[in-house]
Every structure is written in C-alpha cells, then in structure tokens.
Symmetry: C2
Subunit: 780 residues, 2 copies
Amino acid sequence: MESNTVFLPVILAVVGLVFMFIKMSWVKKQEAGDEKMKSISKSIKEGALAFLNAEYKLLLIFSIIASIALFIISQLVDTTHWIIVVAFIIGAIFSALAGNIGMRIATDANARTTEAAKTSLPKALQVSFGGGTVMGLGVAGLAVLGLSLFFFLFVTMFVTGEGSFYKEMTVALEALAGFSLGAESIALFARVGGGIYTKAADVGADLVGKVEAGIPEDDPRNPATIADNVGDNVGDVAGMGADLFGSYVATVLAAMVLGNYVVRDMSTTTQFTDAFNGMGPILLPLVIAGVGIIASIIGTFLVKIKDNSAKEAEVQKALDLGNWTSILITLIASWFLIQWMLPETLKMSFFGEGIQEVPSRHVFYSGMIGLAVGALISTVTAYYTSLGKKPVLDIVQNSSTGAATNIIAGLAVGMKSTFLSVILFAAAIYGSYALAGFYGVALAASAMMATTAMQLAIDAFGPIADNAGGVAEMSELEDHVRERTDILDSVGNTTAAVGKGFAIASAALTALALFAAYVTFTGIDGINIFKADVLAMLFVGGMIPVIFSALAMESVGKAAMEMVQEVRRQFKEIPGIMEGTGTPDYAKCVDISTKAALKEMILPGLITIITPIIIGLLFKAEALGGYMAGVCVSGVMWAIFQNNAGGAWDNAKKSFEAGVEINGEMTFKGSDAHKAAVTGDTVGDPFKDTSGPSMNILIKLTCLVGLVIAPILGGHSAESHASNTQLIKEVQVESELKDNEKSVATITTTVVKDGKKESKVIKVEGTKEEVAQAIKKVQE
Amino acid sequence: MESNTVFLPVILAVVGLVFMFIKMSWVKKQEAGDEKMKSISKSIKEGALAFLNAEYKLLLIFSIIASIALFIISQLVDTTHWIIVVAFIIGAIFSALAGNIGMRIATDANARTTEAAKTSLPKALQVSFGGGTVMGLGVAGLAVLGLSLFFFLFVTMFVTGEGSFYKEMTVALEALAGFSLGAESIALFARVGGGIYTKAADVGADLVGKVEAGIPEDDPRNPATIADNVGDNVGDVAGMGADLFGSYVATVLAAMVLGNYVVRDMSTTTQFTDAFNGMGPILLPLVIAGVGIIASIIGTFLVKIKDNSAKEAEVQKALDLGNWTSILITLIASWFLIQWMLPETLKMSFFGEGIQEVPSRHVFYSGMIGLAVGALISTVTAYYTSLGKKPVLDIVQNSSTGAATNIIAGLAVGMKSTFLSVILFAAAIYGSYALAGFYGVALAASAMMATTAMQLAIDAFGPIADNAGGVAEMSELEDHVRERTDILDSVGNTTAAVGKGFAIASAALTALALFAAYVTFTGIDGINIFKADVLAMLFVGGMIPVIFSALAMESVGKAAMEMVQEVRRQFKEIPGIMEGTGTPDYAKCVDISTKAALKEMILPGLITIITPIIIGLLFKAEALGGYMAGVCVSGVMWAIFQNNAGGAWDNAKKSFEAGVEINGEMTFKGSDAHKAAVTGDTVGDPFKDTSGPSMNILIKLTCLVGLVIAPILGGHSAESHASNTQLIKEVQVESELKDNEKSVATITTTVVKDGKKESKVIKVEGTKEEVAQAIKKVQE
C-alpha cells in the first residue's frame, strides 16, 4: 500500500491548487471600486498581459530551438529518452501558467486592496495577502503536481526491473531534468526580461515625469505611469514567481537524483528495498515539498491584524507569525516523514572516504541547517538593507558630503554584506555535507524551499500593496486610503529585501545540489582544479556573472532612454496632456518597455545557455564542472553585493522622508544630502531589481544545462569511470565469503592503456559485507 | 665550469645595480632649480621618508611576530630549516631598500625635471625617465641578487648529495620561499598603506582646497598639498615598486620550485644530470631574470625624443621603442638560454596523464605566450581606459543625464573589461600548460616579468612628471614649464593604466604558479572541489577580495575625513594662510595621512595573512587550496573591474578639459555633465589607486602564505601521499629488467587502512624504462 506514496505529493499539490482557486474566487468577489479605479486596474492588467503575450511569442521560438536541441541529445545518448522534450515543454508551460495566474490575481487584487483600504486596513491586508497566497499556491502546487506526475510516468516507463534499478532510475530522472530545464528557461525570460522592463519603465517615468515635468509619482498625466505599475507586477510578481518556481523544481529534482545515489550505495550487496518500492530516499524530497504546501496554507490563516490602528510593526508581526508557523509545521512533519520513508541507517559514498553509514536523523539535521541558514541569511540581508540600521545610516551620513561619498558608502555596504552571508552559506555546505553527504546538501535546500508557497505569498503581497497605492494616487482618493496602503507597501519593501536574500540563498544551494548531481551523472572523479583546463574554466566561469551584470545594467539604460523619448514625444504632441484634458497613450509606453525588455534579454540569455554547452563540448565534463563552480562562486558574490547595495541605497533615500540627523542637524527631502541619496538610489535600482536577481537564474540555469548535457560529455581524463569502461578488458574475482569469519577475495582487473596491458590485483580481507562491497564497487 | 652558472645571475644583477648607481649620480648632478623649488622638493622628500620611517616601525613589529611564527614552523617541520627566518628578514629588508631607493630618486628627480623643462623637453624626459630607470634597476637588481645569493647559500647548505636530490632541493627552495614572503609582506604595507595614503591626501586636499576654499590644485596655501604630492610617490612609486618586486621574486621562486619537479620527473630511472649540477631547469628562470635586466638597460638608451616640439605621441613612441626592444632582446636571449640550459627533451608528469615527454622548445613557446598575453592584457586595459576610445566616450555621454548614469556607465565599463582580460588569461593558463605543464605556466609568468626593470622605469616616470608639474605650480614658474611637464604627465597617465593591467596580469600568473607549487609541495592529489570542505572554502576565498576591497575603500574615506578636519583647522587657526603670508603646517598633514594609512591597513593586512593559516590548520591542505583558488578567481575579477572602472572614470572627467561633443553640443569643464563626471572620478579614485591594486598583493600573499605553511599541513584525504606514507606497511618489488626485450615487474603494496590490511599487486609490462619508471613512482 505504501508503494502508492508516489500519489501523496500529487494529492497534496491538488489540495494546494483547490485552495488556490477558493482564495482566487474570494479575491475576485471583492469590490473593485469606482469606474476610475477599475479602469486603471484594467490598464495595468492589460499591460501586464501584453508583456506576457509578447514574452510567450519569444518563448515559443526559444522552446522550438531548445526542443530540437534536446531531441538531438536524446538521439545521441542512451540514457536520455526523447520524452525529455515533452517534459521540457510541459515544464515551460507550467511555469508560464504559474506566472500567468500570479499576474492576473495580482492585477485583480490591487484595486480591490485600495477599495478595502477605504474602510478597513485589516481587510486591505486580507485582500493583498490573499492575492499573494494565490500566487504562492499556484507556483508550489503546479511545481509539485508537474514533478510528481512526470516522475510517476517516467518510473512506469523506465523502471521496469529488467536492468539495474539505479540505471533505470537514472534514465527516469534524466528525463525529469527536462521539466526543470523548461521551468528555469521561463524564469530566465521572466526574471531578466521582467527586471529590465520594470526598471526601464521606472527610470523612464521618473526622469521625464518627476525631474523634467515636475509631476509626482504615479500621476495619471504621465504616459509611462501605467508601464511603471505594470513593471512592478512583471518584475516582482512574475519574475520572482518564476525564479522560485525554477528553484523549487530544481531543488527537488537534484535531491531526487542524489537520493538515487543513496539507493545505489545501499545496494552494494543486495538491491535495496523498502516499503516504497526501493524509492524512499528518492521520493522523500517530493513528499516534503507536498507537505510544505499544506503547512503554508495553515500559515496563511494566521496572517491577520485586528483593527485600523495597526502600524507596520503589527503587519510585519502577522506575516512573521504565519511564516514561522508554516516553517515549524514543515520541520515537525519532516521529522516523521524521514522516520517513515528512510531506513534507519543510510549508506552513502563520501568522496575519498568510501561508503559510510549515516543515521537517517542526520538527514533531518541537514534540513534544519538549511532552514536555519535560510532564516539567518534573510536576517543578514534585512540588517544590511533596513531603515535605521547601521549600514543604511552610514550611507545617510555619507550623503552629506555629496553623491560620490554616498556611492562609495553604498558599494562598501553591498560588498561587506557578502561576509556573513558567505560564511553562513559555506557553513551550510560544510555542515549538511558532513551530516549526510551531498544528499544532505540537497535536503538542506529542499527544507529551505519547502515553504515556497508561504514565502511567495509574503513576497507577492508587497507589489500588490505598492500597486494599490498607485491606484489610490491615480484615482485621487482621500489621503487616509494612501496612508493605509503605504503601511502595507512599507512592510512590503522589507519583505522584498528579505525575499531577495532568501531567493539567492536558495538558488545557490540549489545550484550546488545540481552541481553535485552533475558530477555524479557524468561519472567523473570529482572536479580537480589542479588541472589547467579546469582551472582556466573556473576563471572563465567567474567572469560570466560580471559580464551578465554589466549587460543587464546597460540594457536598463538603453530601454529607459527609449521610454524617455516616447514620454517626451507624447508631452509635446498630445494636446492638453498636462492640463489633464488629453489622455496619454499608456499602451504605447507599455509596448516600448515590453519590446525593449525582450530584445535586451536575448544576449545575456544566450550567453547563459550557450557558454556551458560550448565549454562542455570543447573541454569535456570536468572543465565544465570548473566553469559551473566559477559561475556559482562569482555569481553568489555579485548577487549579494548588488542586491544589498541596491536595497541599502533605496532605504538610505527613504530615510530622508521622515528626516534624519546628520552632524547634529535634521535633514529632510529636498536637501543636498537627499539629492545625493537619490543618485545612489538610481544607481542601485538596476542593481537590486535587474542584475542582482538575475544572478539566481544564471547560476541555476548554468548548472541545469550542465546536468542535461552531462550524458553526452562523459568523463574527461583517463581515470574517469566513463573512459575506463572502454579500457577494462577483464575483471576476475576469486572470493571466499564466510559468515562470522574472515572473508578473502582476490580481484584481478586487466586494463589496456595506450597499447600496454596492465593487470591490477587487489586482495581484500575483512568481514563478509566489507568484501562483498569491495567486489561490487570494482565490478561497477 | 658551467656548474658555476649559478653566479651568472649574480653578475647580471650586479651589472644592473652598478648601472643604477651611475644613473642615480647623473640624476643627482642635475640642477635642482631655485631655492623655492628646492625647498618644495625637500618637503616632498621629507614627507615621503617620514611615511617610510613610520612604515618601518610598524614593519619591525610585524617582522618580529612573523619571524617567531616562521621559527616555530621551522621547528615543527622537517623540510623547513630555521634559516627561513633569515631569508624572510633579508627579503623584507631588500624590498624595503628597493622602495627606499626608488622614493629617494623619485623625490630628487621631480624638481630637476622641472628645472630641465625650463629649457628643454628632451632633457626633462631624460631626467624623469632616468629617475624611473634607477627605480626599475634597483628593484630588479636587488631581487635577482637576493634570490641568487640565497639560492647559492641554500644549495651549499642543503644539497649535499647525501639524500635524494629532489628532497634536498625542496628544503633549499622552501627556505627560499621565506625571501619571497618577506618581499611580499613589504608589498602589503607599501601597496595597501600607500594606496590609502595617496587617496586620503588627494581627497582631503581637494575637498577643502578646491571645493571649500576655491584654490587650485597644488596651491602652496593648501596645507595638504605636500601630503598630496608625497602620496603620488608613496602610492605610485613605492607601492607599485614593492608590488612588482614581490611579483618578480615570487614568479622566479615558483618557477624554480616547479623546475625541481621537472628534475624529479626526469630522475625516474636514474638521477638526472646536466652541465649545471642537475639544476638546469631550476636555474633557468633565475638566469632569464638576470638577462632581462641587461635587456632593460639596453632598452632605456632608446627612450629619447629629439626636440622641444615633441608632443605626447612622440614621448609615447620613445617609451614603446625602449619597451619593445628590451622585450625582444629578452625573447631572443631566452631561446638560446633554453637551448643551453635545458635538455632537448624534458619529462614532466601531467595530472592524470602520467609522465610525458616535452621538447624544450615548448618551454620557450610558453614564455612567448606569457609575453603575448601580458602585452594583450595591457592593450585591453588601455582600450577600456583611454581618452577617445568607445568605453570612455560612453561614460562621457552618460554624464549628460547626471551622476547616476555616469556611475552606472563606469561600473558597466569596468565589469565588461573583465571579459577579454579573463579570456586571455584563461588562454594563457591553458596554452602554457598544454605546452609544458605548470613549469610552462611559471615560465610564462617569468617571461612576462623578465623586463620588470623596464616596466617599472616606465611606470615610475609618470609620478615623477606629475610631481614635476606640482613643483612648477607651487613655485609659480612660467606657463611653458608646466605645459612641458603636462605632456610628460599625460603620457604617464596612460602608462599608469597600462602598468596596472600588467601588474594584475603578472600577479595572477604568479599566484597560479605559486598555487601549482603549493599543490605539489603538500603532496595532495590536486584540489577536488567536489569535496564539500574544499567547495565551502572556494566560496569563502571568493568572498575575501570583496571584503578586502570594501575595507580599503572605507579606509580611504575615514583617512580623508581626518585630513579634511586638519586642513579646516589650519585655515581657521593659522593667521594669514590664505593671503600667502602665513605658512601652513605641511608636516602635520603628512603625519596625519601617514598614521591614518598605516592604522587602516592593519585589518585588511591581518585578514590576508591570518585567514589562510586558520583555514589550513582547521581544514587541511586541500581545503586551503580551494580557498586560494577562490581568492585568485574573485581577486582577478575585482582587480580588473576596479582598476578599469577607475581608470575610465578618470579619463571621462579629463575628456571635458579639451571639450567633448554631447548630443551635438560641445561641453566643457564646469558644465553639469562635467560635474557628474567629477563625481564618477571621485568614486573611481579609491577603486583604481587603493582597492584595485591591493588585489595583486592579496592574491599573491595568500598563495605565498599557503606555500610557506604547506609542509605543516600535509595531505587531507586518505589517498594523499602524505597520509599514505603513514599507512604503507611494505612495498615489495620483483622485477626483471631486460634491454630490447619485454620487462616485467610485480609490485606488491601492503596498506593498513582503518584497521584493515589491504594488499595491492600491480603487474607492469613494457620496456625497461617504462617498468623502472613505474617502480620509482610507487616507491616514492
């Protein structure tokens, strides 16, 4: 009966999706306000969908090319079945669908939040967070559903019991990697394209509107104002959603691949069996993800405030309560799931140390490390980017001596913030590996990602509140409405910064789990950077995130310039626009942002996908591993640096709104120091919203592409398994296995190498199990 | 007779030093101008020496601590003799001496250049370049002299022929590493401390002088003006000199260490012998360095211009002619040296590919790769930072929309400049390794560094010309004097940017050669980043350059603020200072810069030295290797990024002096765009003069510290040689070696591992040499 556990995650995912639909219809039933509000909300929605539709067209072309490439790979490689193409396409569709659902509900929820804020702050929170919940559950539900169904299908297709379980499962998981690749490809378009879109619109709207025409933010006379509000959704809702969808799927996949190695290592003497058809360690990450959805649903019920007098602190407390509750439930559930699904003692091969025994509770501790490090990195991020904390205050102080010192201080804050984050991250790798090998590392990532639904609900609520404020402004509502949405928006800014910390931490751990899966997939003996080609590629990999960031930043500049020219044109050519009698052509601005964003993302996108393929084909598997490591190390640094510098600059500028004390004097908006802080914020905008978050996609996609092409690379050097198989002529084993007595075996391996014949005789003495294990190892 | 070749580099070094003294007395004999000029020059000299003296005090404390630490290491480890302490101290003294000579001549040459410029531009070039030549020859001569004498001493002490040549030579080279460590430690103080000094004085002088008091640059009424001019010498002369002294010594050392492995690999059957007591491959790098000194001297004779009508292009051409001539001579000489000193066919063990035969001309080709890549990286650097080229013009264009877009454009230029530099660098690693293994990589670095004397002469001439302009300004001389020194200064700016490209390229190759020497020293099986501890340390290593840069940047800010307050105080308290009747207290400003610089460099210095020691002791040799690789990869990116962004911002600002066309309009100094460009330049100052160049020291010192502590770390994993030696119980060899027939050997190795006894029998068949080689390998 328990062998049907494969359906458990399916059921949990469906529960999540059902709850999503209930929540969605509840949000939609809310009052959307007067005609003006409805019309604004409609414009934003249309703009957002216009971006999505344009993106889909580009995606279609990309998917066709990628599908053909995958099909060719599947024809060249034994372990890759053509069905990987189907998995890829469905992965892309599911990810796009999740983004679509999120965008629709976010753009539905904004005006409804504004309307609710007219009478009640608790209701406004309920609506905006409800929108976020729909987004979160959509992403998590579709991810788990897709993964489980495909896994079920592939197991049925490939794990027939005719050949070795391990090899058949490898084929199944290789096909499943297609689903993950599809999901991450969409993330590339959504995160990078969305990042360019949102900043191009923002900068374009500000430069002409605020600076040249002197009209306030979100003023309906500004032709780019709708594009700006669309941008919040495109970047922060769809982009973040696709990013986490990709991480979520990739983490679970990597953990499953590494689970398969645990099964292999446990099958040295006899094939490992358990109540889950011998798939316990492989299924576990999937089930934990499913349970995380339910825990997230429970958590969302706790996110509420009492009355209209609530301030930021109460809203934040409500979000924290929901978040920690769902984390705690997942943690407790994981303890029992691990007891249930894993054998009490696992066997894992540790590099250079042979096969070791690991108690299953160590896997749980690895998960705890993942959760703890995720929370701590978020805390570090919050410290470096929050109002009133030392780093932001430092930047504020340095604004008094001009823009240059503000910039230097901001850069320094971003750079310094890498210290604790990287130490924590390194400790997570070290600790979870020491506990349970790379399976432990993958489980740490899985635990961190388990409550993705809740994380996304909290993340998506921010831009909805931000948009609600925009709707209030554009509809010229009473001040108390904007004040209420501002409370929500302000909390949203903090959660956005923390969310970015979470996103990069999870992306980095995901990438590492994929990296481990890659090394094991290719069958190489690790990645030795003492080989010149591997070392050279480590440097090349380290350079890619830097170039990618530069391209992304420049793209924002170019796209913003196009927007500036269009807004200037409209101000000149459309009569009565400044007097409020003429209507600006919002759609034209949306169109420009859309086209520019998608055009500009092609080059960095191509670099991300094609570079690992070229390196893999030219320099083979181990050098590609070096490249992947270089991308990850450098990518993590540049992501943390850019995200936190950008976040800190933003809040340094915001500090002036309430007034700050500089050299004993209170300083406010409009002062020279404030102007310097605005310069810093403008520099930080592409950092924190475009190039910084793009690093997540870059490192994950690099490792995923590597994993998918792994089977065509094979080992590189002569010692690798892959090339050894061609060289080994003969393995002879003479053994005497005795219970409770010393067993002996003589293993003779004959190898033909460079035309020379070499025999290697290994004599093994020890207990029966030890000898059997050694024989098994040689025979493989 | 040829066995006395060890004296050849000594003789060449002495020739270089003699020529240096001749040049020095020639420069000193030149007219130093009127009393005012002499007094200004004297103040600068006194300030520079005051910095050096303060530095020496700090150094003394540091050297005592480091000496004690080294002595303890030497007592713990068999292969480390206590004499390493002496080598360390002499290395530090030689490096300090080279810096001292350079500073003295540079501060002597400035007023003499000004005086010469009164009548003749060719003479002014001759004097300023003469000063640079003294610096260059002092550095190169002392480096080669120190290395050769110590090598001779250590070979006499340790290579007695009683034990294995390879092991005895290892002890000698390990002691020689102390000399290199001493030199690099001084570089840390000179480069980082000097970098902080020069920018603190510069920013401090500008903020109060130019901005607050409205007096021009180099105005004698500014109390910080002497400190500013001292800073040019402290940062660009002493700092750059110590940096290259360190690189030069470390490169030659690493090449010698790797040469010893070539000797070992060639001694598998019988001990390798040649006309150089079996030390040909070890001596070669030392001899090439010595020949490079002579080639540089010849090159310096070609640096001259015809008459006063010469412009920047002629001066640049004269420098290029000298530079390329010395490179060409070195190249040709290297061809013959390699023919003479290396056997026609070398044997080298390539990782995972066993021992391979390499023709000696491949070593020459590796050297050519080093020279080509050094020149190309310098060209790339020049492209990204030169006036009139696209990157700088892009920044200029982006200045028209304000400081923020200027900053973004500058950051993007710096980031994009990593692309070609890293590709070239990776190609150098890949190519020189493919040709001649890590010995080839080290020879590539050696070839690049061979003409260090010439490179430094060109580098040091810039700040001398800059100072000469300052002296002209402060002495209120006629305009044509300043115009002439400005021509030299302008060329000096270009050579400074190119010099920084050369410095980072050579530092990176040096670090790699040290890294290779480290891996071989520790006897570990390479650096496998598929092990979690190694991977974790790769991330930690990647973070260090980021933190180091942040600390260095902040240090500049703090030190500059102290300077600002002092200058403000003097303006307020010293009567008649602005009217020119009161004399400012220059010495006080020099003192503040000195103290602040040395105080601020302690933390980054400690991080650099202590982190690798902690990691080595806690996580063992392989993890430390991961850390070193992380520091190198990340350090190279951040160095290129910061140097080139800073250089490009600087020239973007300078573009406005001659006027630039922005959107069809000519824009000049004082415009809003120019103000934005000034902001960019201010951000870039610490980038290009403090944190960027510090990366060179960081990566080299990290690898050197690793190399010095290598013997106490031993191998980490069970497969390493170091721990195997404890486990191997017995090696039995039965062999039948026959000429012209098939030889056979049976090697039985018995190992005790985790209480189990394992025997490994290897049967080898092949020619006599092949079998002998295999036996040798196992026995080692």
